[in-house]
């Protein structure tokens, strides 16, 4: 189930993106599951089609869904690709931590803070 709360400070597209991403990553939505069309989901959730389209685009960029022009959007097997990317990024991060002489506890605290703040992009200064 997806719930969009119009009173929430989180933008609707982010609410939608986060909920779909969570359900895909937790395998609640299995690989190959067909998602509703942008127009249908927008009508069901009382959102603009652009809002749903933006959420779908971001999920697609993250490799979580794939859109086949005529058939619609499906949960991609690339959820696994996302995990692989995360593993590679973690290995690079571990190398940076070792190079800078930061201990493990502090390294984990840095990661946790980054995840909490939503600043998970490694390229941010």
């Amino acid at each position: 189930m997806i719930v969009i709360d119009s009173a929430s400070p989180v933008p609707p597209f982010e609410q939608l993106r986060a909920q779909l991403a969570r359900q895909i990553r937790s395998h609640t939505l299995a690989v190959g599951t067909r998602l509703p069309t942008i127009r249908r989901l927008a009508a069901n959730l009382g959102l603009a089609a652009n809002t749903v389209g933006r959420a779908y685009r971001e999920l697609e960029e993250a490799g979580l869904i794939e859109t086949r022009r005529a058939a619609g959007s499906f949960v991609a097997a690339a959820g696994e690709k996302g995990r692989e990317q995360a593993r590679r990024a973690a290995a690079e991060y571990a190398a940076v931590i070792a190079g800078a002489g930061i201990d493990t506890d502090e390294a984990i605290r840095i990661v946790r803070a980054a995840l909490t703040n939503g600043t998970t992009t490694p390229s941010s200064p």
Binding site: I2, S6, L29, L35
Partner: protein, 277 residues
Amino acid sequence: MPKGTTPNSARSMRPADLERAGVWLAGHGLADVRPTPLLAMRLAVRRSTRLAAHVLPAAFIIVAALIHVTHRPDDTAADGSWPYRHWSLLALTAAAAGLVLAQSLLDRWVRRVDRRAGATLPRRAAHPVRLGWRTVLGGPRAAFAVATFAGATALAIAALTMRDSTARYAALVLLIALCGIAVGMVVQLRHILTHPVVADDEVSLTADLIMRVEDAREVAAPTVVWCLPIASVFDTALGWWNAAWLVFVVLGAGTLALITARTAPSGTVARHATSGR
């Protein structure tokens, strides 16, 4: 009704509607859920439209019978006056189009009430997957509806091969009526499958899907098809045709009873589809 009060909002205030909604929820395994005015209003509108949807085909059958009786050629002029028959067939086609239009307007009314109800919700819930006809109607019922129309069409075409022009004319009336009913059914099913969900949590999402499943099952039941020849063909067709149609109806009723007994109730279908995501 006070001025400025919409019929729908007035309905939602009626305790009887709330009570009926409670009974409906309990009947679908949601006895622990308190009925909301929104659900009561949606169910009340569906009750009204369902009643009208039952009356419409009955009126259509009566109109078809009247057209058939009024324009039936007498025994002395077996071939009849063709321009006269053309008019009667046009009238029947217009009646079939009127039936489809009336059903479409009823669906639009339900959708409008649903849309207004949805607009009042601060939270909106929806299924993250596409619920197609397989979930909402189910393969066996869809196949049964298609088979019923195919069988009825085949029998109507068989009646068209009769030598008696009156029987052929009656078969033509049956074919036009079948087309009208089929188009009406497709239009209604399309509306049921595509109109937006109105829900704000898991319970209301389940209730929404239950309504959808019930509506689809109601629309796909071919009871009107079974009654159609009474309006025309039964009076004129040969004994074998009437016997074949009766066998067709008995077999169809048996199959529908079997499908109803073997498929999951609407509440179970909805709960499975909602909680499985």
